[in-house]
């Protein structure tokens, strides 16, 4: 029960801080939208081709918006010496991880909804037919991505070039989460021509769970002195 | 000159062979040189600190030992 309280308090703290000026959320949405807008505008004429690229465009936008969000999530901690506070607090560091990860997941999720809405609008494509499947893919993909972003954000907060360090760590390792998500999303959007949609979702889920569990288990070493 | 005409006769694919092996050599030489430089620097620092230690050991009782 105590663990849940810790998770909840961290999550609530991040939500409350964000609610005050909503900077992180706003910049994530704007950044993600910019990428979607860019692709849509540049390749407007070749609609068929553009639709094929839509899953990749969306996930690239999510990837970059995510990294932006993860950076801000830890930079505010560092500015107020909260990282030291967390290190010294007599709580299980893994619970801190879960709290921060859920906050990151939530913010990125909100940004994703915004991006998807405008993508559907601009690309004239409805996500509704495959909505359940897409939600599953989005959830698992974002989960793994946020887990990696949380632990790497904490690691990068200890370095001189924080934003760059997070990106350099995040992309090679989260690469397959993104690739499988793109693949599964593309399959879902085309109405599952290969039939086996569960396998696609399973792949994304499998990789994400592996990375989430690994990050969860290793986070205590990141906060240790 | 004899060597120049021979070189022209060698097919262009061997140019890539030469480049590949040269690169491998070069990168290892560079790394070894880098290691050697770091070792020299570390050795100098070690010598400097060791001399400071022997300095402070010789001036045991009074005064700062000029660090």
């Amino acid at each position: 029960m105590n663990s849940l309280k810790i998770i909840w308090s961290i999550l609530l703290k991040d939500l409350r801080v964000e609610w005050r000026n909503r900077e992180t959320l706003a910049s994530m949405c704007v950044f993600g939208l910019l990428i979607v807008f860019l692709f849509n505008f540049a390749f407007e004429s070749a609609r068929e081709e553009t639709l094929r690229l839509l899953p990749a465009v969306l996930w690239v936008a999510i990837a970059f918006a995510g990294v932006l969000g993860f950076n801000r999530s830890f930079s505010s901690e560092r500015e107020n010496d909260c990282l030291e506070g967390m290190t010294l607090a007599p709580v299980d560091p893994s619970m801190i991880f879960v709290g921060k990860m859920l906050a990151n997941l939530l913010f990125l999720g909100i940004a994703e909804v915004v991006m998807a809405f405008f993508a559907a609008l601009w690309f004239n494509f409805s996500f509704l037919p495959a909505l359940g499947q897409l939600l599953l893919i989005a959830f698992f993909g974002t989960l793994g991505y946020a887990a990696l972003g949380t632990i790497f954000g904490a690691i990068a907060a200890n370095t001189r070039m924080r934003e760059v360090m997070l990106t350099v760590l995040q992309f090679p390792i989260a690469f397959w989460i993104l690739i499988f998500s793109i693949d599964a999303t593309s399959n879902a959007m085309r109405g599952n021509p290969e039939g086996n949609w569960l396998a696609g979702v399973g792949r994304v889920g499998g990789i994400s769970v592996v990375f989430t569990v690994a990050s969860f288990l290793l986070f205590e070493y990141v906060l240790e002195e | 000159m004899l060597w120049r005409s021979n070189f022209r006769r060698i097919s262009v694919v061997n140019k890539y062979l030469f480049l590949a092996y040269s690169f491998v050599w070069l990168i290892f030489m560079l790394y070894i040189w880098n290691l050697s430089r770091r070792q020299t620097r570390l050795q100098n620092e070690l010598d400097e600190v060791k001399s400071k230690v022997s300095e402070s050991a010789s001036t045991t009782t009074s005064g700062p030992s000029g660090s």
Binding site: L148, I151, I155, N158, T159, R160, M161, V164, M165, V168, L169, F171, P172, I173, F175, W176, I179, F180, D183, R203, I207, V210, F211, A214, S215, L218, Y221, V222, E224, E225 | S11, V12, V13, N14, Y16, L17, L19, A20, Y21, F23, V24, I27, F28, Y31, I32, L35, R38, Q39, L42, Q43, E45, L46, V49, K50, K52, V53, S56, P64, S65, S67
Partner: protein
């Protein structure tokens, strides 16, 4: 290990291994039918790829050992291996295109070996960048060990994912099918190359470790000196 296997002997073995390998590459292995002489790059490309993978395996094991036992030796081994492994990995990525272009007309392909090596290279870069940009030396070993573990998990996932991806999006097998239909003399040369490169790898790691040892000695003496000065 160091006392039982003196470094001069290691160096002699490395030299012998490399010379024998060179002999076999150029004077023993037969010329390839379609590609000609340029195929001999393969005898450097593949052993280097194997050694870079071995390097990351060592980083993984050393990272786990560090997280479990807090052994500074493990941490130093991981760092040394990362540097040397990075050098070999770069060799693979440079010799690859230099072989591919004259042999098949393209500079690059996302074949399984090259894709894996590229991702491995990115992981090496990430690890080394983390090492050099850390401002808190107390945490350095911890953080790098965490990255070493997650990185290796990623390598395993890379391997499986690339294989699966290639069943979905098959490519004409160009560089990947190296072991299919290999002349026994070529195979022998390849194996000798792998052996020689591995010995070279360990020699370089050893030399790099001596640097780490010096740094450790330096920091210990500095601490002792500072302590002593503070007492006066």
């Amino acid at each position: 290990m160091n006392k039982k296997f003196p470094i001069w002997l290691h160096f002699v073995l490395t030299l012998a291994g490399l010379v024998i390998t060179l002999y076999m590459i150029f004077l023993y292995a037969p010329e390839e039918m379609t590609m000609g002489e340029v195929q001999r790059i393969f005898y450097v490309h593949v052993p280097a790829a194997w050694v870079s993978l071995l390097g990351f395996i060592i980083i993984f094991i050393a990272s786990i050992v560090y997280l479990m036992k807090r052994s500074q030796h493990a941490d130093e081994l991981a760092h040394a291996t990362a540097e040397v492994g990075f050098i070999f990995c770069t060799c693979v990525l440079v010799t690859g295109p230099l072989w591919a272009k004259p042999a098949w007309g393209i500079w690059w392909t996302w074949s399984p070996r090259l894709t894996l090596t590229f991702l491995l290279w990115l992981l090496y870069v990430a690890y080394l960048m983390l090492r050099s940009y850390l401002v808190n030396p107390g945490r350095a070993a911890n953080l790098c060990a965490v990255v070493g573990v997650i990185g290796f998990a990623d390598v395993i996932i890379d391997y499986m994912a690339i294989r699966w991806w290639r069943t979905q999006h098959p490519q004409p097998v160009i560089m990947g099918g190296a072991n299919s239909g290999l002349d026994p003399r070529m195979l022998a040369t390849l194996l000798v190359g792998v052996g020689a490169f591995t010995i070279l790898f360990f020699l370089l790691v050893r030399v790099r470790l001596s640097l780490a040892e010096m740094r450790r000695e330096l920091s210990e003496i500095r601490h002792a000196l500072a302590f002593k000065l503070s007492e006066d």
